[in-house]
Amino acid sequence: MRSIFHTILLAGLFLGLGSGCKDFLNVPSDDNLSRSDLFSSVRGANAAVAGLYYQLGDPSYYQFRMPVYADLPGNGHPLAEGTGSEGQFVGIQLGLVSLHNRELAPDLENTGMPALYEEAYSLLFQANDVIEAVPELTDGAPEQLASLVAEAQVIRALVHFDLVRLFAQAPGFSANAAHPGIILMNGTPGIFDFPARVSVAEVYALIVADLEAAAADLDATFSQRTGANHWLTPAIVNGLLARVHSYTGNWEACREQANECLAASGRDLTPTTSYLDGWKNGNLSETLWSLDLQRLVEEEEDDDTIQQTPARIFGTGNPEPFLEVSSDLADLFTLNDLRQELLARNDDGSLLSAKWPFDTNQVSNIPMLRLSEVYLLRAEANLETGRLAEASADYLAVHRRAVETGPPPPTDAMGLRQAIRDERRRELAFEGHHFFDLGRWGDDLIRTDCAQVVTDCELRYPDPRFILPIPLDALLNNPNLTQNPGY
């Protein structure tokens, strides 16, 4: 019996011994980086922030549909025949047509929007991870760490802004924007958290708070890792703030931020002489921020890879586009408008956009913000705050570049407002604004170029179809997530 006790005693000693092996058990990973390793140096934090930009350009996000999502309903037009064996629309093209027609079911089949939803929240996780981890770093100057956090905040704001524009009605939809917005992610969630949607007002409050904090902390000496315009700068943050304020109708703030952006950018509008070449060569001098997608271009010159980019949808030079330009948009240009040149027909007669020149093995960087938009935002802000002369001047700065001679702008507020809105549609066509603008203005979508079978050629505001349904896949996995009315 005694030997049994010895055995038990010894076994107990052995079992207790294991705790000394902690260091032995902490092993590093070499293929992937563990989170703690990545966020142990500024170099790693930099890679995580570069990863945010990289993921913005994901095929499910800004590489393909997102830059022109808001152009599909009004500025796009389905072709007479689809690519299906019997001329029907199939696959990606069918999805684009359903986004144009606004005939959408919660499964959002073929539209790529469920993937966009996933990608957006994946990006929000990483942005939050950076925001939480970087302040703990012991490496690097405090200003540099603050600037890294600021970049993550801007991207968090941008993603929230995209989501709220896609899946929720614009702030003006209800009093105090109290209607449902999206699920906010302002921290990394717990494993079994089921967050719920918050009001549109709360979403915009976080977006503005993030951008304002970032405007104070962002330092271009750190963020401009290379000379190209692929990195965030304080001027870009001001421009984005001006854009966000235009959605909430906070016109004084919009005007102020537009002013700051124009002053801080150190750039001027691209002049008439280099405007068309700028689009053709993808180097418009007034572009403040563009996403770098050159990694997609294959080294070998004879490569005939076709990339999924906006050019694939309706870019000039594309022999088989998915959609074409609507005559509703084309008819808005006067004959002497320089921007007529940005529309061209391919061999089949489809009208296409030269803002996205198409070629095999060619990818344009995605423009995220350029000065013309900032001028037009300030024009709107000046108009809405009663500064008609200044509004008129901002309008003309953009308009006269393209139309040298023509009637002067209307002098009454109503007329000038319409002139500015039309100018926005012309100048910013195929850059992802039109349909979102209609929502924030509370304007109807009137389509006279409506040959295809569309249930409503005239989509009257308000209407559930101004926004997307919440993807079914997301609904099934979060019991606290509610569907948009009308879907």
Binding site: V27, D30, L33
Partner: protein, 477 residues
Amino acid sequence: MGGEAQRQQQFKQVTQGTQFPFDDLRRLAVLKKEDINAAETTFIKAKASTYGEMAYNFDYRYYLKINARRDANSIFGGDRQADIFGAIGTAWNFSNEPALVDRLPFGIDYGKLRSSYGVTGNSRLGVYTTNGVYQQRFADENYGGQLPASVTLPANDLLGWERKLQTNVGLDLGWRDGRFKLTAEYYSNRTIDGLFTFDTPRESGFTSILANAVSLRNWGYELTLTYRTAQNNKWRYSSSFNASRNRNRLLAISNEEIPARGSATAFLVGRDINLIYGIPFVDVNPETGEARYRLPDGSLTSTREDILNPFNFVPIGRSAPDVYGGWHQHLDYGAVGLTLQINYSYGGDITVDRLTFTDGQQIGFNNQSVNQLDRWQQPGDIATVPRLSVENGAVSRSSRYVYQNNFIQFGSVNINLDLTALGYLPDNWRTARAFVLVNNLGYLYGEDRRENRNGVREYRFTFPQQRSLTMGLKLGW
């Protein structure tokens, strides 16, 4: 008693060269830089264990066995790297009990009652899943000339060992010096902190996550009967037959999962996890030829949206069988040996891949099943197969694709001939055997079927299962 520390380190480096100027001189040094490709991967994992075991028996009547171990593994993060496991087993060989020797009923000459209880651990995890993982991108995958890192897994300190509490009671009985044996066993296993990959809210930034958050009970019976003739017979025959039955219930889960699209399983507390969920097919509408399905409220529908909605899914089958097992027989007669293995399964269901036959719903692009001859063709037809369609999306989660899977499989036959024993070969040959082995002779299915129509026999496997015939000769000298 002992201890064990293990560290596994893999380092793999591959260098590849192309465009060698002279094929005879395959040296990297002669190549241009751009024609050389190098890659490497590394992998490290550490494990430390200590264990002890104690066994004791008294007079070959009472047995006691205790063991314990502590396992720690580098793949768990935080303070849950280690866990302790143990087991205790007892047995009573009652046929050696002096009071019972030669007094057992029914001619039993061997009897043993045994039981065991234990805790075991399991760590079916990839490496580093607990720390949060970022993927560092290289080369072409850059942004503005910088190399980005993207998150692939969130930090997960809640991961640890999955534990299984196992209880087992068994009875062994023997007759006629052990030539006839019966073993009956009952087990009940409880998995706690079970590892499970959960679908997560898309808003979390991930589509799924692994967590110790499931509790499951498995229980069942096993019965084995064996018989063998005496060793010195000219005819020697042995046979072993077994039958098993297994049940399970989900006891707890942090987040119940309904059968989301594409999946036929659900994880609901109090339910069997082998249930197949889907929409029950009822009949074909005689007026329109459309398939009608039953909604949970009892009404019939042909509306696609309702049919595909996972919230309308109910159990339509169970993938695990009620009883399954096998029968192994072996016969020796002189130099000839014959082995036959039979497997069987009863009470299970199987979901047939809808792509093996497009079921008349997308007739544009695939071959159709002969069952389409029974389709609805005109108003008034009472049919079992809906009308044809060019582009009807499949209703893959419906009872139309669930079949009973009761079968007897003739698993293998092996005939063995000992050529030395037959005296055909010189004595100095040590072994000389010829054999014929046939694997998978075929299945017998029990199902209601119509003549010249397809059923589970045809649909179960996309391609007919392989049958192999092996003939061999084994010589040794």
